[in-house]
């Protein structure tokens, strides 16, 4: 493929990505038990008088779609950054235990310290960060070795899962409120949840734009990045913090959703390469579109049963993960 074709492909994808976000958002609002036509959406958003359709659009579908978009964007960017920082293609917040860390912190907050539940995203962030640091130290050796990172992830996931289950058994009287969250979906998410995650998500996503250059330079390897004047250790720490913030934010509202951070950045890499200037924004938009579309499918395809979106995404992501494990584990 020559440069001209590559450039054109990049341009096409940079245009298609936002378009796909808009389309998936519209589909997410239109499709459901009560189908909604395009003009009705416009009516719901602009008219001061509330019809029943408006209520469905405004109170049910719109916040859910917006949360889906933010969750997907956060998870995909978190994965894209983690893969660069760990120099490892298998790094995904769900796979390596970062999401579990966030989840445990969230469960502790909701079950043991419900009076602090307004701090849920912050707690999830802290949990994600601690998990990332543990994984980083366990698997790092001039780049996180793919085998080590997966094994460490399995162990950490198991440990955190055990603690989480233990807490839920001990506080079984209180877990009713936690259950819908735990299943990893967007069912019943409302404006309240959106306002909850929005500041964290916005900060994370905006700051991630600043992470593009350091992430690119880290791809050259630690020594090369240092020789190009980068403070590698500091940058790596900040990037881990950032990806933890994003993963924690997503987990605090949507529960444990895996593989988005793996599937989306890799699909984007295959299309336009490793350069974070394109990889990061396209992953962000692609993640947003994917989770929203998947959620729409999850709540309608098996109607009247509503699947948690995490299940659908796992069905999609797990085979992809196995494919990567087989074909690209020699990446570093």
């Amino acid at each position: 493929m020559n440069m001209k074709q590559r450039r054109r492909r990049r341009q096409v994808i940079m245009i298609l990505a936002p378009v796909s976000v808009i389309i998936s958002a519209l589909l997410g609002i239109m499709i459901g038990a009560v189908p909604i036509a395009l003009p009705d959406i416009w009516h719901a958003l602009t008219s001061p008088v509330q019809s029943p359709t408006d209520t469905i659009v405004f109170d049910l579908r719109l916040p859910r779609v917006l949360i889906g978009l933010l969750t997907g964007a956060c998870l995909a960017v978190s994965g894209a950054i983690l893969q660069g920082v760990m120099r490892n293609p298998l790094a995904d917040p769900g796979v390596i235990g970062v999401s579990s860390g966030a989840g445990l912190a969230a469960v502790i907050t909701m079950v043991i310290l419900p009076q602090f539940s307004y701090l849920l995203p912050a707690a999830a962030f802290a949990g994600a960060f601690i998990s990332s640091i543990i994984i980083y130290f366990l698997s790092w050796d001039r780049g996180a070795s793919p085998v080590k990172i997966v094994l460490a992830g399995i162990a950490l996931n198991a440990l955190l899962g055990a603690v989480m289950n233990g807490i839920m058994v001990m506080y079984s009287d209180r877990i009713q409120s936690v259950l819908p969250w735990l299943s990893g979906g967007l069912n019943g998410r409302s404006w309240h949840h959106l306002s909850f995650m929005l500041p964290y998500a916005l900060v994370g996503l905006i700051v991630s734009i600043l992470a593009i250059k350091p992430a690119n330079l880290l791809l050259l390897g630690d020594n090369s990045a240092k020789l190009l004047g980068q403070k590698v250790e500091l940058q790596r720490l900040l990037l881990i913090l950032l990806s933890s913030l994003l993963a924690g934010t997503a987990v605090s509202v949507a529960g444990l959703i895996g593989f988005v951070g793996l599937v989306v950045p890799h699909a984007v890499r295959l299309l336009i390469g490793d350069d974070y200037r394109y990889l990061l924004p396209v992953s962000m938009l692609g993640g947003a579109a994917l989770v929203t579309l998947a959620d729409t499918a999850a709540r309608t395809v098996f109607d009247p049963v509503e699947l948690p979106v995490g299940i659908l995404l796992a069905c999609l992501g797990a085979p992809f993960f196995l494919y990567l494990l087989k074909n690209r584990s020699n990446w570093r």
Partner: protein, 380 residues
């Protein structure tokens, strides 16, 4: 004037040691660091660029201690080509070289200024890779990739350029291309160049200054003609060689290491005392015992016949074998069994004794002639 100096640089990592290294890099010159694998060449470079920290000692770059540089300030003064162990990202040649401008950009900005653009073009021209600018890095050959990596270091526009084995794994055409391009850079921009080289002839031909390292210490330093001697090859590489210069180009003819060949041999002596005058009969009989000369590991056979010692004669049959196993192989062979079957020991044999002797043989494949030749060149 020195571009860089190290002062009593010491580093200990397990078995590996760097001891009191006082290296001086002359400004505006090309310096080669030579020495056997594991002698500390790469370690010295990584200490000089702050990639690792010394236990003791200091590094001074352009008159200023290394510790007083910030990472990005340092990256505008010194660039280095590390050994290529890292997997490179999937980007184009030009994008790759553009990373060389990172030390001049604010930490989040990646867009190039016009000057950046001009310098990136210059770096590609200097390394003669302009025609590849839009190709993907990983589609290039090893030699071209190396030139791209060097071009990235050039794009940093530093006064000091360090290269860790820039020519290793390249074919000779690419090696010379790389070295010529570096020479041009040195002449045109008076860039100080320091490189680890394994090819002594290239080191001497292209560089003004050599630093020879051995076991984590500097063995000697100076101009190629002073440094590159028969003595250096012997002391640093433990290689005996004939060294002469043709202009700037040294000619090194190594002498093969004197490896002592050691082999063993088994001598089997079968001595029979026989009735006087019956020797002919025994030898005739022996003639019919078969086919020993066809056995593997058989080296030779002698028959000794002694008469008139006293009241008996003596016949010794001596066979020589490469090993005991070879001899045993014969005694187990079909031919041996056949010849010894259905046969009684004739009554003229009075006494029979077999002795085994194992002999060790050392051979030295280098003849005295070779040694004489080398001695000649030394006195010449």
């Amino acid at each position: 004037m020195t571009a860089a100096e190290t002062n009593n640089l010491t580093l200990e990592r397990g078995m590996f040691k760097l001891m009191n290294v006082n290296a001086v890099i002359p400004k505006g010159k090309m310096t080669a660091i030579i020495g056997p694998n594991g002698s500390g060449k790469s370690t010295l470079l990584s200490l000089m660029t702050g990639l690792s920290d010394a236990d003791e000692g200091t590094v001074t770059i352009q008159g200023k201690p290394l510790d007083n540089y910030s990472r990005s300030e340092f990256a505008r003064v010194v660039s280095m080509l590390p050994q290529s162990k890292e997997q490179m990202p999937n980007i184009t040649v030009k994008e790759f070289i553009e990373y060389g401008r990172a030390p001049y950009q604010p930490f989040f900005k990646q867009r190039l200024s016009e000057e950046d653009q001009r310098i990136v073009d210059w770096a590609m021209r200097t390394m003669r890779i302009l025609r590849h600018e839009d190709r993907m890095f990983h589609t290039l050959s090893g030699g071209e990739q190396q030139k791209v990596r060097i071009a990235m270091a050039l794009a940093q526009r530093t006064d000091l350029l360090l290269l860790d084995e820039p020519t290793t794994y390249l074919d000779i055409a690419h090696q010379l291309e790389v070295l010529d391009a570096l020479t041009v850079l040195n002449r045109q921009k008076s860039t100080t160049i320091v490189m680890v080289l394994h090819d002594l002839q290239q080191a001497a031909a292209y560089c003004d200054h050599l630093i020879a390292m051995k076991d984590g210490e500097i063995h000697s330093a100076g101009s190629p003609k002073d440094i590159l001697t028969r003595q250096l090859l012997r002391e640093v590489y433990e290689v005996e060689a004939k060294v002469s210069f043709e202009g700037h180009y040294p000619i090194i003819i190594p002498k093969r290491k004197t490896i002592e060949e050691e082999t063993t041999m088994l001598i089997v002596t079968n001595t029979s005392q026989i009735v006087k005058g019956s020797g002919e009969k025994l030898i005739e009989r022996f003639d019919r015992i078969g086919q020993v000369e066809r056995m593997e590991g058989f080296l030779g056979l002698e028959v000794l016949f002694t008469q008139n010692i006293s009241e008996y004669d003596e016949v010794s049959i001596v066979t020589r074998w490469t090993s005991r196993e070879a001899f045993q192989g014969w005694t187990k062979s079909e031919a041996f069994r056949e010849s010894h079957q259905h046969r009684k020991t004739p009554d003229y044999i009075l006494n029979n004794k077999i002795t085994f002797q194992e002999v060790r043989i050392k051979r030295n494949p280098i003849t005295d002639e070779d040694n004489a030749q080398i001695a000649d060149t030394e006195t010449a």
